[in-house]
Each structure stands twice: as C-alpha cells, then as structure tokens.
C-alpha cells in the first residue's frame, strides 16, 4: 500500500531524513519511533507529498510527487494538534473538508458520530478541549473512509482520558482493515497499534523491527514516580536519561517509564550517583506525561 525508496530530505545543510526505504502492505500498521528531531514528522510530510524530497514515495501505487492529489485522496491525516482557524464552527470545518473529500453531509455526520462529536456542530474550535479537537481531526481523517490513516504524534498533547479515546478509535480503525502509519514516542501506543516499528535516529533508519522485539515484555512499561529533593531533580533526570530511561519532571517528582519487571532499576541508577530517593510510587496505569523522552 505504501512504498518509500531512498526518501531523503534536507533543510538547507541539515539532513532531516536520509535514505529511508520501506514497504507497507495494505491493512498493516507501522510506527515511526525515535526521539524529537529524529525525522518522524519529516517522514510523514514526505509521505503526504506536501514537501519536496529526493527519492520515491507512493501510496496505493500513486506517486506522491506526480499524482499527489490521487495519493492523498487515499489518506486521512491527523496532525499532532488540529491547527485550524479558531473562530470557525466545528460544523463549518467539517463541511469544508467533506467538500474537499467529495463526501456528502450524511457521511460527514457519520464521521462525527463515530468520534462522539455529534451535537457540537455549532461550537467554535477555540471552545473545544484538546481531546475534542483531536477527535475532530480523526473525524476529518475518516471522511470518505480512506484506506490509509497517517498520524503525526496524535496523542502527545492529550491527557490520559483523551489519549485513551484516540487509541481506542485507532484500534477500531486498524481492526476494520485500515493501513496505519503513525509517529509516536509512546511505547504503549506502539505496542497497542503497530505491526512494524521503524526506529529513526538522526534521520537514519536505525532498525526495522516489531514492538515485541523492541519491548519484549508483555506489558512492558509502567511509570514510577520518584520523590527526591528538588535540588537534585535535574541531575537525577540527566543520570536516568543516560541510563536509557524515559523521564519527565513535573512538580511532584520525577516520572520514569520502566519495564514492568525492572521497577527498581532507576533507584539503583540514582544510588550509584549518590542521589537520595525519598519515596517511590508506582502509578496504576501506563501514563507517561507529555514531552518526556
């Protein structure tokens, strides 16, 4: 369904993506995994054909360069955060995109229904919560029932509840046979949604693998909250990151994502650095706050 060969994109002298190739059969789901700046978003823009790049990319045998409109007609796109005029009403935005995707009003309503936004048509976009906006983006992406859905970190600006809703919708889409391509830095999402993971590092394909190989445990990640003295938080975060953990600092300590069976590891890391951990808390759900790496 989706083919990329030697996709390379430079911004001036900086190479954002170098020589990325893959093939994704229809009905499969693929994730880009990597830190910020690894080239996930650039790769998605190349696949959509909205930016210039070297190499070949095609969707459903349509080259995104030469038959970009036909290629994009097969794709529903969900951005990191729905960026649209704030004072537009939800219904108007929906009508605009329905018109661009040759979809009649009844199906457009159907899309809204599927994400649970029916009845909010008169609301202006600025009055929507982040989760509602992202659901609207999903509804727009599903207009006309395209076979491919492309998502660029669709949940990174959402809270847990919002994220859950989006992930559930995506799961349904996957089950209904859609081809999914998405960028994420959340292992849990990737494990739930992806068949294949492309690990990007500084624009280069590090490896092509499966979530199972990347995170071998069944339910691999839990978040552990470590309570330290405020002064040592930065140093601790640094040390944990060096040790390969995903860390997030918020007001109430450090949140660290750890494999389920190695919850004590961060404490050991900090001990070796002589940083005192006052208390730890294992959070119930997999919940890695936004912005963490």
């Amino acid at each position: 369904m989706i083919i990329a060969r030697g996709v390379t994109k430079r911004y001036g002298r900086v190479v954002a993506v170098r020589n990325v190739s893959f093939e994704l059969p229809a009905g499969q789901s693929m994730a880009f995994w990597g830190s910020n700046g690894a080239g996930k978003t650039t790769m998605i823009r190349c696949l959509l054909g909205v930016t210039r790049f070297r190499g070949i990319a095609s969707i459903g045998s349509n080259s995104v360069k030469r038959r970009g409109r036909a290629a994009r007609a097969l794709v529903g796109y969900v951005p990191q955060e729905l960026a649209f005029h704030d004072d537009v009403r939800l219904g108007s935005a929906m009508a605009l995109f329905a018109s661009l995707r040759r979809v009649d009003r009844a199906s457009a309503h159907g899309s809204l229904d599927r994400v649970g936004l029916s009845g909010h048509e008169r609301k202006r976009l600025r009055d929507l919560s982040g989760g509602m906006k992202q659901r609207l983006a999903l509804a727009i992406a599903m207009l006309g029932d395209p076979p491919v859905i492309v998502l660029d970190e669709p949940t990174s600006n959402l809270d847990a509840a919002g994220r859950g809703e989006v992930v559930r919708t995506l799961q349904q889409l996957r089950q209904s046979g859609k081809t999914l391509v998405f960028a994420s830095h959340r292992p849990d999402e990737i494990i739930t949604l992806a068949d294949t993971v492309i690990v990007l590092d500084k624009g280069i394909v590090d490896r092509v693998t499966t979530p199972r190989e990347l995170w071998p445990t069944e339910k691999p990640v839990q978040v552990v909250r470590l309570y330290l003295s405020t002064a040592s938080e930065a140093e601790a975060a640094q040390a944990l990151r060096e040790a390969g953990h995903a860390v997030h600092i918020n007001g109430q300590g450090l949140c660290v994502a750890v494999p389920r069976d190695r919850k004590a590891e961060p404490i050991g890391v900090l001990e070796r650095k002589s940083i005192l951990v006052r208390n730890i808390e294992v959070l119930d759900d997999v919940r890695l706050p936004e912005g963490s790496t």
Partner: protein, 293 residues
C-alpha cells in the same frame, strides 16, 4: 443515530475533488473568512465612509448649480481609491498564505487531496470577490449620495470607474498574494505589503517627478515609465473615461492621447491586466516550487 445506521457509510470513492470544486470550496471559505475578518470589515467601512464623505462634501458647493464635470469630487474619489484600495488589497493578499503558514493550517490543508495551485487560486478568487463586494458597497453608497444631490459624473463613467477600481484591486491582490507566498510570517508579509504600497503610491511618483526634472526626461520616456505603475494607469484610465481627454495631464497626457489615440484605454487597462496576471503566475510558480509549509 437512527438516521446514521439507516444511511450507513457510503461506498468510498477516494477520488480527489475536481479542480473546479476544490477551487470553489476554497474561494467560498476565503470569501467568508474575509467578510468576517475584523480588518476587512474595517477597511470596507472606512472606504465607504470616505467615499460617501468625499461625494457629499465636494457636491455641497456645486449641487445648487447642477453642473456636471470632472472636478475635485472625482479627483477626490480617485485619490481616495488610490490610497485605500491598494492598501486593502495588498494587505489582504499578503496575509492569506503567510497566515495559514504561520498558524500551521497550510500543512493541514495541503494534506488533503488538493494541489497547491487549487488552494492558491481558490483563495485568490475568494479574496477578489470579497474586495469587489467591498468596493461595490462603498461606490454604491457614494452613488446614492450623488443621485440624491443630482450631480457628479455620468452613470456610464461611474460604472467604468467602478470596473477600473475592481481591476486595480485585483492587480494589487495579485501582488499581495505573491508577497504572501514568499513570506514565512504574517508580520513580514504585512511589512512587505506596506513597503510595496508606499513605493507604488508615493515613492515611484515622487521619484519619477524628481528624475524628470533632474534628467529632463522626454515626454515619451515619462509616459512609458508612468505606464509601468498600475496606479498611474488606473488614474489615467479613469481620467480618460471621466473626461474623455488626457490634456488634463499636461504635455505628457497630450503626447499619450496623440500617439495612442483610441488604443489608449486598451494600453492602460492592458498594463493593469499585466499586473493582475504576472504576479499571480509568479506566485503560483513559486508556491509550487518552494514547497515550504
């Protein structure tokens, strides 16, 4: 909900919208955005008030005599148009693409099954229509005042004036859109638009005046240089129609009407049409080539 289940999801076609449909969709959206934009409404109100004011004030002295002629009324309207209309069109054009780019909506729109050409042409068409509407409101109310006071210029001439003004507005819109395409940020685009406005309205005329004195330019040189400026062409065209003679413009005007004769209106409107077509084509080429989002 019942409606939805009964209708069911439509069979997906996954065909990009026709060129006309995409352009019309964007045109309609742009028109509506312009009409609900604070700046646009402000410009329209200002233009209308000034136009009505000029007609009212300059007729109040002569209304009792009931003579028609090209006096300061028409001159005042011309001056007003030459100041306000390019400003309005340039800034409206400059904001259009740069604004979408800055808000991040450009990427979102381009991820739909449409081409850059469709997007630009649609926005251009919508803004043109909005500008023409705004002019019609101003000129319409002004005509109302003229009708009430029974004087001023003839109906035919007035319609020609409205038509010429619409052409000028669309030409300035082309320039504005070109500015917008090459600008990353709205503030830069607006600044450039204001600069171009200053150049076209004041600097080029004053510069041409100075050089005609310093270099003692011949009349044909002065005319040729002046005819490059769409505002001068607009002014000369308006005077030809309102006055049926260019001797108002001294030796240069006499030279022009002597050498060009009946071709005069065509040459002048041709220059304005060139200002409509050339910047728009250049904008399309650059927008498609640079591929920045």
């Amino acid at each position: 909900m019942t409606m939805l289940t009964m209708t069911g999801p439509r069979a997906a076609t996954h065909v990009p919208p026709s060129h006309r449909r995409a352009v019309l969709t964007f045109a309609r959206r742009e028109f509506r955005d312009a009409m609900s934009s604070r700046w646009f409404v402000l410009y329209t109100v200002a233009f209308t008030l000034l136009a009505v004011g000029v007609s009212f004030l300059s007729l109040s002295g002569s209304g009792s005599h009931g003579f028609a002629g090209f006096g300061r009324t028409a001159a005042g309207l011309l001056n007003l148009v030459m100041l306000v209309v390019p400003l309005m069109a340039l800034t409206a054009g400059a904001a259009t693409i740069a604004g979408e780019r800055e808000r991040g909506t450009l990427l979102y729109l381009l991820a739909q099954p449409i081409s850059r050409t469709q997007l630009l042409l649609g926005k251009y068409a919508g803004l043109s229509l909005a500008l023409v509407c705004s002019l019609c409101i101003g000129f319409g109310l002004s005509a109302g005042v003229l009708a009430w006071r029974a004087g001023g210029v003839g109906v035919g001439s007035y319609m020609v004036l409205v038509g010429l003004t619409a052409m000028l507005a669309i030409a300035m819109l082309s320039v504005g859109v070109l500015i917008s395409v090459v600008s990353r940020r709205t503030s830069v685009a607006t600044g450039l638009a204001l600069f171009v406005w200053l150049v076209l309205v004041f600097v080029s005329d004053l510069g041409l005046m100075a050089s005609s004195i310093v270099f003692q330019l011949r009349v044909q040189e002065i005319f040729a240089l002046a005819a490059v400026n769409p505002l001068q062409c607009y002014k000369m065209g308006a005077i030809v129609h309102l006055n049926a003679s260019l001797d108002v413009l001294g030796p240069v005007g006499a030279y022009a009407s002597y050498t060009l004769g009946p071709a005069m209106p065509w040459v002048l409107s041709g220059s304005i049409v060139a200002w409509i077509v050339m910047p728009l084509l250049l904008a399309l080429v650059l927008f498609n080539r640079r591929r920045s989002i």
